[in-house]
Point group: C2
Chain length 186, copies 2
């Protein structure tokens, strides 16, 4: 059993379905934790993970996802959650002109044996010109993955999980777990 630390139920559900497909149980530790302000998600996640090591027993991981919009110098990046809850998707749409390139990046930090391991994945795409779709959460209604005709929120959860940054980062973690018997059966 491995612990997943997040206060976000959407994230827990999405990751739990990915882990279930690999017959790996995860335990939801529902809590908020301290995050520093920094330029990269890796740095913020590493810092939070180290701080939680003194609070949480055994192996645990946390997940952070940011939306990086190219013509906005990466905004909202590490502050995606705050920006989503203030200016929201409508705000993002009003900030953009012709250049709409963007990518999602997921970083998973695993604390295991007092070390921190990071697994990350990126999904490239563009910002749509209007909100579309009811599935998913966050910026999903305005993000169209490269090579797709639909936003992430227009896809059903299975389809989203097939291509998503979150799934790919999770699978890297799952591959790691499978090489560590004691983690797999803990």
């Amino acid at each position: 059993m491995i612990k997943f630390v997040t206060s976000n139920e959407h994230k827990y559900r999405e990751l739990n379905s990915i882990f279930s497909a690999h017959d790996i149980e995860i335990e939801w530790v529902k809590m908020k934790y301290e995050e520093i302000q920094a330029d990269t998600t890796e740095e913020i996640s590493l810092d939070s993970c180290r701080k939680l090591q003194s609070v949480i027993e055994g192996a645990f991981f946390m997940e952070d996802t940011g939306l990086y919009i190219s013509p906005l110098k990466g905004f909202p990046g590490p502050y995606s959650s705050y920006v989503n809850s203030t200016i929201g998707n409508k705000g993002i749409l009003s900030l953009l002109g012709v250049d709409r390139r963007a990518h999602f990046q997921t970083v998973i930090s695993l604390s295991y044996g007092r070390k921190v391991y990071q697994f990350s994945s990126t999904l490239r795409g563009t910002i749509s010109t209007e909100e579309r779709g009811e599935n998913g959460f966050g910026f999903d209604p305005v993000f169209i993955p490269e090579g797709e005709g639909f936003t992430l929120a227009e896809m059903d959860p299975e389809r989203k999980n097939t291509i998503s940054h979150r799934r790919k980062a999770a699978e890297k973690l799952i591959d790691f777990i499978k090489t560590r018997n004691e983690l797999n059966n803990e």
Copy 2:
């Protein structure tokens, strides 16, 4: 002598001129420090101040200013500096419609005798419909203080210092310093 910790030369100059007018010398400690992500500037500043107490000897203070835009649920608030360096003033302008109410808030945290004292001040106003003026920094070109016809960046520094949130918070700190002889003459 009291230390002022900031990596921002604009802030140092603006505050130094205010302190000089009261014959108080401040020493510029030019460094970046860790800031957490939190909803209020008070909380972020308090946390940073406590962490710096183990690094900096003697009395020191730090200053944080955020722009809180009412129709955007307070955005960019605690992340004003990040938002200014990414989407900038043009981004702010494109986010707004008819309701343009906003306020600046400055929070100064003073570490003195291992305690932390906070002094804050607010300047109410509106966001202009275009960038105007060359003075100041940050969001000054798009902020019109209540009762004024000009943006902060259109005012000369003396005029800005007369009405500014930063000056008012600094004067609260100066009043405090004047009641503590050992701080004043240290």
